[in-house]
């Protein structure tokens, strides 16, 4: 920086400094470094600009048009948005279903994840085996999982047999408008092992001394969990919360595969989610404009919840490095 200034004529207007009249020299090493930077970042950048940013910008435009993907788009302004928000009952139903799913499956998944991680962190015989078993469901392809779930959740299937032992008359799950969403939630919680592994590694990273100190102070295991373990793993819980929220709002494959009689979103739109609705509008009904508008409305919803999560994070997420 300084040598550039030295080069300047003393009387030159200061504000034009660095306006590019002279090309300041860059050291060979810095040049090389910059070159490598662009070289190594380029695969991501090309992908991002070509496959994400470009389509995103295009979809803003498309959402303001009526477009069947074949004939030229027709400008309609904000009509797609107003139609979704004021006229289309299925949009609100799908949004409600998605909220229902996210509101239960995300917290439930976290609670189950923390609970399992805490259990697996105990020194028990065969704990490696248990850890493997808990993670295994996450590795099974979703299509295979859904096939098994169709059998397990059959009206006279094993799950209802199990409920029968407790005197509960199980519902028809996937065939019932009331119970298909809980069935989807069960399917999502079954994959809680993914979060468990992350939480477990966070628990392993907690210094033993903290527990020793707590024990000397006479803290019960319950108290130890809430005062030592929990605060230490909040960053990982927070990470899982954000990822879970985004994932839950974008639920698609499960609905698609579990759909009874290939009626995606059925019965009676009880399992219609935002992304399945979007997909149906775009690729089955040829309403690309409307589908793009739904996509952006979903984006706003996800953004809103992510911002809320980040805002409240200060209150409960504990970073050791930030201790004041």
């Amino acid at each position: 920086m300084s040598n550039v200034v030295v080069d300047e004529a003393p009387g030159a207007a200061r504000e034009t400094r660095g306006a590019g009249r002279r090309r300041p020299k860059m050291s060979g090493r810095r040049k090389k470094e910059a070159l490598y930077f662009w070289l190594f970042i380029s695969p991501w950048l090309i992908g991002f600009v070509g496959f994400l940013l470009g389509p995103m910008i295009a979809s803003v435009y498309i959402s303001l048009t009526e477009w069947d993907s074949f004939t030229p788009p027709e400008w309609v302004g904000l009509e797609n948005y107003s139609r979704a928000l004021t006229e289309d009952p299925i949009f609100w139903k799908a949004l409600g279903n998605t909220f229902y799913f996210a509101a239960i499956s995300v917290p439930l998944g976290l609670v189950v994840g923390v609970w399992l991680a805490n259990l697996l962190n105990k020194r028990v015989r065969g704990r490696k085996l248990f850890r493997t078993f808990i993670y295994l469901p996450t590795l099974v392809p979703l299509v295979a999982t859904a096939m098994v779930f169709k059998m397990v959740l059959a009206p006279s299937g094993p799950f209802n047999d199990l409920l029968g032992w407790f005197g509960i008359d199980g519902p028809q799950w996937l065939l019932s408008a009331t119970w298909i969403k809980p069935a989807l939630i069960i399917l999502s919680v079954w994959g809680a092992g993914g979060a468990t592994v992350l939480l477990l590694s966070a628990m392993n990273g907690i210094p033993r001394e903290l527990y020793e100190a707590a024990e000397i102070d006479g803290a019960s295991p319950w108290r130890q969990f809430w005062s030592v373990t929990f605060p230490q793993i909040t960053p990982v819980i927070f990470f899982n919360l954000i990822m879970g929220l985004i994932g839950a709002f974008q639920i698609f494959s499960q609905v698609y595969i579990l759909a009874p009689n290939n009626n995606v979103g059925g019965p009676d739109n009880a399992s219609q989610m935002m992304v399945t609705l979007l997909f149906q509008e775009a690729f089955s009904f040829y309403h690309f404009g409307y589908a793009s508008a739904i996509a952006w409305l979903l984006f706003i919803v996800i953004l809103l919840f992510t911002v809320i999560a980040f805002r409240t994070a200060r209150k409960w997420v504990f970073y050791e490095t930030e201790v004041r």
């Binding site: 590019g20 070509g50 993907s69 408008a177 040829y286």
Partner: protein
């Protein structure tokens, strides 16, 4: 200094964007090479691929100047894939179309074929009979029929014999059918019929009653008394008469269970579906036969089929039509029945010995049932909004099929929704 960094960043971004665009262009321009080969897309599974390829081999052997690249797309992704191809300006030359044909033709994505038909001297009426004009939209022909077969009744001979019943015939009425179903049902174990929850099934009853889904003026007419009676009957067979397994009973039999697999397993005594069930039944252990659909006030049955169309992206529509002409002519159509894939649309083949006595058929199989049915096939409304219409039925009838209910209430709702969908 600041500026310099910014300039560099800008240049970097620009270069990236360029590279990205180049990469995209490379993807788009992929396989639509300049080798003059026609691209043909069809849906289905292994058997379909084998059959189409065998027909194309015949074509290429006789027309050395035509080469066709066949692309088979799994059925559930077909529409999306083709839509993306066309939207990207890389549509196929020849595509298979069915009920949804007019969502393409109404948006001028298909080439009208009338001119080519005329200059080639192809007589649609003579070659295909009543289905010759199946794929017309606003007086223009957009596809040539390729496969076309009525829905037929499959029946389990052993179960009929055990119940001491005569086998089904085209003379049966809905009442006869229901009486037989009742006698063939053993509660919780065996059912008389596989069910009529699919449009092709219960619409047949509606048209038998004299009803229409879309009336002659193009307006929806689904809450007419005739259609209501048909839907109610179809549903009552399950929930009132218990001669059809309920959705819950099917779900208990296994994942993705329905009439076709349950019939092959010998659990239901009658099933109404298309030609494709034959392939699986030849391999099954049950003793089965086929018959034309029973009737109501009048005879009516739905048909399944597909046609071949030329898309607007084709660089050589003339040659594409020439290929379709050959593929729907006798020699190539005979392959369809030899491979037991489907019913060929070509009438001459349908009436040939190759069709009536195919090698693979079990002894005494009445292949004439297809020909007999073709006389009373009703014309399903291939409206451009076909997919939306289907979704409207599915959305509103989900609980109705699963739990039973009042057909009038549901069809009134559907009628109102269809009126807003169909302009």
């Amino acid at each position: 200094m600041m500026h310099k960094v910014q300039w560099r960043r800008g240049a970097g971004l620009a270069a990236t964007a360029l590279l990205g665009a180049a990469a995209l262009a490379a993807c788009g321009g992929g396989d639509s090479g300049d080798d003059g080969a026609l691209k043909m897309v069809v849906w289905g599974g292994d058997l379909d691929k084998e059959t189409y390829q065998a027909r194309i081999d015949l074509l290429e052997a006789e027309n050395p100047d035509i080469t066709i690249d066949l692309q088979l797309i799994p059925s559930d992704q077909y529409e999306q894939k083709v839509q993306t191809m066309i939207a990207g300006g890389d549509g196929p030359d020849i595509m298979q179309v069915a009920e949804n044909v007019n969502s393409y033709s109404s948006k001028s994505q298909l080439v009208p074929l009338d001119e080519y038909i005329e200059s080639s001297g192809l007589d649609m009426e003579q070659r295909f009979g009543p289905v010759g004009d199946l794929y017309t939209y606003e007086d223009q022909t957009y596809a040539i029929p390729d496969r076309s077969g009525a829905m037929i009744v499959y029946y389990n001979k052993d179960l009929f014999d055990a119940a001491g019943l005569e086998y089904p015939t085209a003379e049966w009425t809905q009442e006869d059918a229901q009486a037989a179903m009742e006698q063939l049902t053993i509660p919780g174990e065996q059912w008389g019929y596989g069910g009529a929850g699919w449009w092709a099934q219960w619409w047949s009853f509606a048209y038998q009653n004299g009803g229409q889904i879309i009336d002659d003026s193009g307006r929806p007419a689904v809450n007419s008394p005739e259609v209501v009676a048909a839907l109610q009957w179809a549903n009552d067979l399950t929930h009132v008469h218990h001669v059809v397994p309920t959705a819950a009973e099917y779900a208990d039999m296994g994942p993705d269970m329905g009439g076709d697999p349950a019939f092959a397993a010998g659990t239901v005594a009658m099933n109404t579906t298309g030609f494709w069930a034959i392939g699986g039944l030849i391999e099954s252990d049950i003793n089965w036969g086929i018959a034309p659909m029973w009737s109501g006030e009048q005879q009516a049955v739905s048909a399944f089929g597909s046609g071949l169309a030329v898309t607007r992206d084709s660089e050589n529509p003339e040659q594409a039509f020439e290929a379709i002409d050959f593929l729907t002519d006798v020699e190539a159509q005979t392959v369809i029945i030899d491979k037991a894939q489907d019913v060929p649309a070509n009438l001459e083949v349908q009436q040939s010995d190759a069709f009536l006595n195919p090698e693979w058929a079990p002894e005494g199989l009445d292949m004439g049932a297809f020909g007999e049915s073709s006389e009373f096939i009703f014309r399903a409304p291939f409206i451009p909004e076909w997919n939306e219409m289907m979704a409207t039925f599915d959305d509103n009838l989900g609980t109705f099929w699963n739990e039973g209910g009042d057909a009038k209430t549901e069809l009134d709702k559907i009628q109102a929704q269809l009126e807003s969908i169909i302009e």
